[in-house]
């Protein structure tokens, strides 16, 4: 029990929906009654998922509408700050063409109705269908953040296991100090330092994901190489805080497990030490890692907005930020909604994975 509950309180990035992850908590399942089989379990999760998405769409749309004014007032304001002036008749015409004068619920139903038919609306700023704009960005986000997650796990797992097994050794202390540093240094600041060091030491400007020649090229080996030669910096930055956090969680969980009688029994039966550790306690200690797969994406997207702006990455974060500041509401709404969909899907996947690796959850028992 303690294991599955530890991480939500540790993790600062709470998911957008309050309900999804709680499914890993066996007590919660009582609402639906005790599931009889894996299939039932999955069907329940899927129904919950659809209801959650519907709720999210309302909340997302309401939040986008909260700031005073609309896209056009932002547009006027930004023009005025450069000394430009706009004729109010222009604005009146645009407001009519964009349908911005209509009441909230009319706008919402138009929006959600369009989405059900695959139309996410137009971006005001780019005068283009939103679907044309977001996929490339979301793809970049998932690629980059997926790589950051893999890096995070590759670094954190061995170090976390080592730190737990060799508790209070020099290596543990180093991992602890490193971990706290990683947690304490803000990502964007680390990015700035990297940029400055790259400039002063190597005369290189870090930024973007591709060299000029490769931006619009098709994927090929040289392009992959070019991508990797740019992507190492954001991957390093994005994985830093997460790595530190994972090390701490894994170490704490594993320490709990290592003391348990079944470990002693396994040792007594003469299993080799690495097998004793990897086969049972590590598997259980991974539990919270698996249960948070679903939030990795939104956490990384929202947590990486500033990093992406600083490093000028063509990911979803800066586009979301910009569309929110310009009140380009259909664009912002689409990104928020899609991120939520991904979060919810991720949560369902992690629920299923958890059920697979942990029988206590599979059977909803205690």
């Amino acid at each position: 029990m303690g294991l599955a509950r530890c991480c939500p309180t540790l993790d600062p990035h709470l998911p957008l929906d309050g309900g999804g992850w709680e499914g890993v908590n066996p007590q919660k399942n009582r609402i639906f009654g005790r599931p009889k089989s894996m299939v039932q379990f999955i069907i329940r999760r899927l129904i919950a998922m659809i209801l959650t998405l519907f709720a999210i769409s309302i909340v997302a749309f309401a939040i986008i509408q909260l700031p005073p004014g609309d896209y056009l007032t932002t547009y006027i304001a930004s023009l005025s700050s450069t000394g430009e002036q706009v004729d109010p008749r222009v604005i009146a015409n645009l407001r009519e063409q964009y349908g911005l004068g209509e009441p909230f619920y009319v706008q919402y139903f138009k929006w959600i109705g369009g989405i059900l038919t695959g139309n996410f609306g137009q971006s005001f700023e780019w005068k283009r269908p939103v679907t044309e704009l977001i996929w490339g960005r979301l793809g970049n986000s998932m690629l980059l953040e997926g790589m950051a997650v893999i890096t995070m796990w590759l670094i954190a797992l061995p170090i976390g296991i080592y730190a737990a097994v060799r508790k209070y050794s020099l290596g543990d202390y180093l991992a602890t100090v490193g971990g706290f540093l990683g947690l304490a240094v803000p990502n964007f600041f680390f990015a700035l330092i990297l940029m400055y060091l790259a400039y002063t030491w190597f005369g290189v400007t870090l930024g973007g994901l591709f060299s000029p020649g490769f931006e619009n090229a098709r994927w090929s080996l040289p392009r992959i190489w070019d991508f990797l030669s740019h992507a190492w910096a954001p991957i390093l930055v994005l994985s830093m805080a997460g790595t530190a956090e994972l090390i701490r969680i894994l170490r704490a969980n594993l320490l709990d497990e290592l003391k348990k009688p079944y470990v002693v029994t396994a040792r007594a039966k003469g299993l080799p030490e690495w097998r004793v550790i990897l086969k049972y306690p590590v598997r259980l200690a991974m539990n919270p890692l698996v249960s948070t797969i679903g939030w990795l994406l939104p956490a990384l997207v929202s947590g990486s907005v500033i990093v992406s702006v600083v490093l000028n990455l063509p990911t979803a974060g800066p586009m979301l930020l910009r569309s929110l500041t310009t009140q380009d509401m259909y664009l912002a709404g689409a990104i928020i909604l899609l991120l939520s969909v991904l979060t919810v899907i991720g949560t369902v996947i992690s629920d299923i994975l958890l059920a697979l690796i942990d029988p206590r959850i599979r059977y909803g028992g205690k």
Partner: protein
Amino acid sequence: MRKTYLGLTGAVAISAMLAAASPVWAQQQSPVLDAAVESGELPPVAERLPSNPLVVDGESVGKYGGTWRMGMRGGGDNGIIVKTVAYEGLVRFDHEWKTVLPNLAESWEVSPDAKEYTFKLRDGVKWSDGTPFTTEDIAFTVEIYKDPNYAAGSWIDSTTNPLTLDVIDELTFKFTFEKPNGMFLENIAGTDGLHITSLQKKYCGQFYPKYNENADADAQAAGFTNWALYLQDRCSWGFETIRFSNPDLPVLYGWVIDQPLNANAARLTWKRNPYYWKTDSEGNQLPYIDNLDMRVSESIEELTLLALNGEIDFQERHIATTVNKPLFFDGQEQGDYHLGEVIPSSSNTLVLQFNMNHDDPVKRELYQNKDFRVGLSHAIDRQEIIDVVFTGQGEPFQVAPRPESEFYDEELAKQYTEFDPDLAAQHLDAAGLTEMNGDGIRLMSNGQPAKITVDVISALRPEWIDILEIMQLQFQAAGIQLELNNIDRTLFYDKRPGNDFDAQIWAGDGGIEAIQDPRYYFPFSDESVWAYKWVQWYNGTKPEIAEEPVDWAKEQMALYDQVKAEADPAKRGELFRQVLAITKEQFPVIGVSLMPNSYSIIRNNLRNAPESMFNAWLFPTPSPMDPVTWYFE
């Protein structure tokens, strides 16, 4: 009597004579176009150029080639495009921002009552697709600007002073205004003039129902609800950002779009326009530089590092902050660039505007009281602010024309700027703030403490908050409480028509272009926040909240109406000085310090780029400094 301005500079006249005298003088083009000409894809350069090309010379004759690299701030930064590529109107300014010179119009005539303007276009100018630029395009532009479905708005479809167009022949046309419009040439020599030369009839007409009966069906086939939205996407007006995401749109610029701008673009690139209509005095077709490369970056840090690394060839915009100056100064050798001087058009680092039309009668009376403002002005220790916030750059200054302006008046610029707590106290007492509460805050006539909530957008200029925090302490010492309200830009603008503010902060626009943008000198436009309701009475956009101004403001408005009607610049200046004299007497807004000079990053191998230039929106530098004549050594 009609005044004729023969739009010919000396250089043009001489080169025209030379060209006539020596027909052997072959016109040159960039080598990158040779292959296309040889294959017959492009006509030879002599056929692409007008019979009388506009001759523009830099300090030295350049050579072709190279890419000018610069940085855009995010996707919506059309400002930098106006400032580098898109400044091609009928007329243009000279380098000193004083005289109006011919550009696409070869010459013009102005009627003595300043109502009729007759322009003659340069013969043989072609759009970037090779189609001739004629009065048909002008007529089409006027026509669709006046169509309410096309949401553009500018002087072309103005309702306050409507114009009619008479096309005289293929190259000559006449604008007739209902009311005198004495500053028309100066206005269209600035960014406003880019509207009338922004649309080609042949290309844009295909999206307009009058010239294509299937326009609506075409729009729907392309995924747009109606023709108007499709037209605005393909042929947006003036210098709208969205124009630069359509590489098919014919233009009259020196460079045409290669990789267009869109929401996912990492850069916007341009290649030379083979039909560009300017040459140097040796007959070389301009521009010298073949390509432009605009890095699209949300990251100021990245742009700063690019400049430090020598990966930006000329730029002032975005990166030239006060904080960055030492960094750029130290990096000159490593980055192989040097710093040029940039003189801002803005007069002041911070303008404190009290809401003279406040709904609360007590506050309204107080804010309208000149002694109150004079007292506060004397309570500011400006030198302290200059030293702390601007590392000593600048001088105490009111909101007034800059020393570089023809309207500079030392008294207007310097009055009430000395820090004098006693004098401040005298004036505040005279304003009726004689009583104080236990916290040392003066009491207004209704017994409430004199607390001013001032709205500011720190995201726009971070130093505003630094200045205000110092001013807060200085006002506190004088017995006035200042409360900072740091808000978002949209809310900032929403509060104006709602009349829901004590005071707002902005920078001192109109330091050079005083006569075009006198927002702080009298209630002139919606940006004259200090007298928003009076503006509505004069010419504002929200007549429903208009309020009759006080007499002195009405006098200024009447004088400015005369300024607008006067075609003679000397008389106009004289009238405008009378407006400023009233400003000096009434002291409507409080300034802090003269906006310090900025700087540009100039790569050491870039030639003909200006070592010193103004920076303004109406004078969109570096464009008026003729970047088409810049070249790489």
